[in-house]
Amino acid sequence: MIDIIINITLLAFLAITSVAIVRMTNLFAIVMLFGIFSLLSAGLFVVMDAPDVAFTEAAVGAGISTVLMLATLALTRNRQKNPYKEAPHAHRPWLPLFVVGITGAVLVYGTWDIPRFGDPNSPAQTHVARYYLENALPETGVPNVVTAVLASYRGFDTLGEVAVVFTAGVAVLLLIGGRRPKQTLKQKDEGEQDET
């Protein structure tokens, strides 16, 4: 019971934080709030019995991605007043709200058939998961089933994931790895000259 109460409270906090992120216009505050969002989700992963995932989310979401976003903010801030202020948006919010409302309503309709949260007999629990839980220890000698599945049963999958991480690192190096070239700011008048 206490699990469910913590679960509901943390999820409500997450929803509130996400709304605050959308409504704020100061990018610095938004990035800090996103760090809090990640920390809350790490706590929620612990409540849902996924310590490995919580570990990763706490280190990655609250640590590294916040640092990276702050570095980006420092590199992209305006030199004039309000360095971290987002520009006021010119559009009316009604069309995006309409699209989001329709999509959300369809998705909520889809949850009517989903097995309830924590159901031990739902289809997700009865197929391959049961095999892993019963055979991981005798077949690999590793008590942590997550590690056994990650490195042994689905080793090929993980190889692909590591390759993706490596490729992303190479791409970042190619994009911003070297020294900054001489200023080639695309000016407004320069654009107009191109037109004529």
Binding site: I30, V53, V100, G101, I114, R116, A124, V172, K188
Partner: protein, 118 residues
Amino acid sequence: MDFFIGQYNYWVVIFLMMVGLYTVISRGNLIKKIIGLSIFQVSVFFLYISMGTVEGGAAPIITEGVKLYSNPLPHVLILTAIVVGVATTALALALVIRIKESYGTIEEDEIHKLDHSL
């Protein structure tokens, strides 16, 4: 009440997903768009982990005297997805930095104006 507790997780997941989607399509600032995308991403993580949770189950580390474990497969998928997610987010942020360096702005409207597109 039972139905509410049973589906509450999925509804919050959908709410977070829609908040992320709204941020991506309605805001012009590129960094804010990326944060919206990350919120969307985290909501998908919650969807997977929620489906793997078993009531009264323990973390999937085999110990004596424990009968019921949560599903390890979603944990594996999401664990790798989080690390890949931060790597791809970093790539997106690198692109934003390059856009700032060559256009001088990260607001979508101003970039369109400079490009004479739209």
